[in-house]
């Protein structure tokens, strides 16, 4: 198990993060954007867990941190969706690129 070097996990996390970022910045549908953000946060969690197991100085706090991160991410998703619904009520769309009334 420990044969898998930490760098592998990190790379995975990085890739995941980038995918998330890409999604967040390109998808038109706001729901997908929110999901992409979740992806980014989860990439972080992989990092944390990986570090807490295979890091130079392994410690449990990493996993604790991960737990907090998950919780917060959930909350954030919830809030995000709630707001999206409110917006949908008024604007009848979930396309993020149509939310451009506010600009100079």
């Amino acid at each position: 198990m420990s044969s898998v070097p930490v760098s592998a996990y990190l790379t995975l996390a990085l890739i995941l993060f980038c995918i998330g970022l890409y999604g967040a910045l390109t998808k038109r549908n706001t729901v997908i954007v929110l999901i992409s953000i979740e992806l980014m946060l989860n990439a972080v969690n992989i990092n944390l867990v990986a570090f807490s197991k295979f890091g130079m100085i392994p410690s449990i706090t990493g996993q604790v941190f991960a737990l907090f991160a998950i919780a917060v991410a959930a909350a954030e998703a919830a809030v995000g969706l709630a707001i999206l619904i409110a917006l949908y009520r008024n604007k009848k769309t979930v396309n993020i690129d149509e939310m451009n009334d506010l600009k100079s």
């Binding site: 990439a43 130079m56 706090t61 604790v64 941190f65 999206l84 939310m99 009334d101």
Partner: protein, 511 residues
């Protein structure tokens, strides 16, 4: 952990947080069960009282030695106290604004949430101020963020409000992800999330690669946090959100949230990165990691100041304009951060304080003028001097202070930053010059408002509907802000001495 260890902690150190938490909880529960027809305004007053109470208890704590409880996750050192005072005052003033905020539609039924979400956000900010651990920092940050997301969108029927909230959430999420990702690397390098422990581990980082990773982590965290500060490159959400959000929320974002951002920034910079070395060989081994980063921060600061002030020139919407202005001010503050001179702390603290008063004051006036008619065009100020001389004078004071004219707190704050930037070695002549130059540019739009208020005749509908009646809460806030702006402008040492005597320049920052 068992009960007596739990009891062994000096919970008194958390008194202010507990008060806020308590009030918030109570309000939320009462809001649930209280009859619909009950005017939720009373909640606001309760919340206000709670904040004052928290402030009192905090003042009461000021004298104490630094306390650290919950296994160093919660610290009450000079730094925490000093900035919590600002946060509380800011929140109190914002609460006063919120109390007298009456937009045309889409607000009334959520008044209750409004108030305790405000408190929740404040709580998060306070946690950030005195957390000694990345986790608590992060949690505090998120608490603040989440509640401000909702606050921004609290006018459910008001499309701009929704949109601004949405934008805020999306950007905020990305920012959070950046920050967190950076933090995860830091954790990976140090194997701990506790800031104090990190300070012991980081200096031992030998491997150059690790230091590079640390650098990358630094940038991710910095960019992530620059979302909260509304500084380049993560500033662009600010104008839209500020414009769409209800005015009190805008004030909250530009004052409390920004302050919190700087608090966490300083915490992390000085505890985590301030103790690493720029390299593992030769000179780099001697030089502090942050010294290596100064140039990058300087560039960001310069960019922020220029963007903020230059783009503000073209704004007609008053709230947008103030969004850019607050971006610019964040830039000024970054100058102090860049310099990292012995003046950094008091410069930051004083300037944030001054900015708090003048900006909340300005937003108070804006709210008063714009809430009836949702007309937020700068023209709304036309002929204000004729319609309400005192209001115009008050706004004049705030504007002058924001522009950094002598006799106001804003000037002293800028002075303090300059001294820091120029006294440090190497002195940042260029940065200081950019700061002053952009200040002059800012005259254009600041004095544009003055021109509207004092030179231009009032537009027809304002002219006849001229009488502006001043709600009590707002009036109080205005008076406080005006007085503070002028007093701290003429006798800044009232504040500065208080700072130096009570917080010893944060000498206790690291133990």
């Amino acid at each position: 952990m068992d009960v007596d260890t739990l009891l062994s902690f000096e919970w008194g150190a958390m008194a202010p947080e507990f008060i806020i938490l308590g009030v918030a909880t109570i309000l939320s529960i009462v809001d649930l069960f209280a009859p619909k027809h009950l005017d939720r305004k009373i909640f606001g007053w309760i919340g206000f009282a709670g904040i004052l109470l928290a402030l009192a208890s905090l003042i009461n704590l000021v004298g104490l030695e630094p306390i650290s409880i919950l296994y160093d996750t919660f610290r009450l050192d000079g730094f925490a106290k000093a900035f919590k005072i600002l946060l509380l005052i800011g929140a109190a003033l914002v609460m006063l604004l919120a109390l007298s905020y009456k937009p045309k539609e889409g607000m009334e039924e959520y008044k209750g949430e409004f108030y305790y979400l405000l408190l929740a956000g404040l709580l998060g900010a306070m946690m950030m101020a005195s957390s000694g651990d990345l986790i608590t920092l992060f949690v505090g940050l998120e608490l603040l963020s989440l509640s401000s997301y909702i606050l921004a969108g609290i006018r459910k029927k008001h499309l701009p409000s929704n949109e601004s909230a949405m934008k805020y959430v999306v950007n905020g999420g990305i920012a959070t992800a950046f920050t967190l990702f950076g933090m995860s690397y830091v954790y990976g390098l140090t194997g701990t999330t506790n800031l104090i422990e990190m300070t012991n581990v980081l200096p031992t980082l030998a491997n150059a690669q690790y230091i590079y990773i640390l650098g990358i982590a630094f940038f991710m965290i910095f960019v992530g946090l620059s979302f909260k500060l509304a500084t380049a490159p993560f500033h662009m959400w600010a104008p839209d959100v500020y414009q769409g959000a209800p005015t009190p929320v805008t004030a909250f974002l530009s004052v409390v949230s920004k302050t919190a951002g700087f608090v966490i920034l300083i915490r992390i910079l000085l505890t985590v990165f301030g103790n690493a070395f720029a390299g593992n060989s030769g000179v780099a081994k001697m030089t502090n990691f942050l010294v290596g980063m100064q140039d990058y921060i300087a560039v960001l600061a310069a960019a922020t100041m220029i963007i903020g002030n230059v783009v503000a020139l073209r704004q007609r919407n008053i709230k947008r304009m103030f969004a850019y202005s607050s971006i610019a001010h964040a830039g000024y503050l970054l100058v102090a951060v860049t310099a990292m001179s012995s003046f950094m702390y008091d410069a930051l603290w004083f300037y944030l304080g001054a900015y708090l008063f003048m900006n909340v004051g300005a937003f108070a006036v804006i709210q008063l003028l714009t809430q009836h008619t949702d007309n937020e065009d700068i023209g709304a100020f036309a002929g204000l001097y004729k319609r309400a001389p005192w209001l115009a004078l008050a706004m004049g004071v705030f504007i002058l202070s924001l522009a950094g004219i002598p006799g106001t707190a804003g000037f002293i704050g800028k002075l303090n930053i300059f001294i820091g930037a120029l006294a440090s070695d190497p002195a940042h002549y260029v940065l200081a010059s950019i700061m002053i130059a952009t200040t002059v540019i800012s005259y254009f739009y600041y004095f544009g408002i003055l021109t509207q208020m004092f030179f231009r005749p009032a537009a027809a509908e304002e002219a006849d509907g001229g009488k502006i009646r001043m709600p009590i809460g707002l009036g109080v806030a205005l008076v406080i802000c005006v007085v503070a702006t002028i007093v701290f402008g003429l006798f800044p040492n009232i504040a500065l001495d208080f700072f130096h005597t009570n917080f010893e320049g944060f000498s206790d920052f690291l133990q």
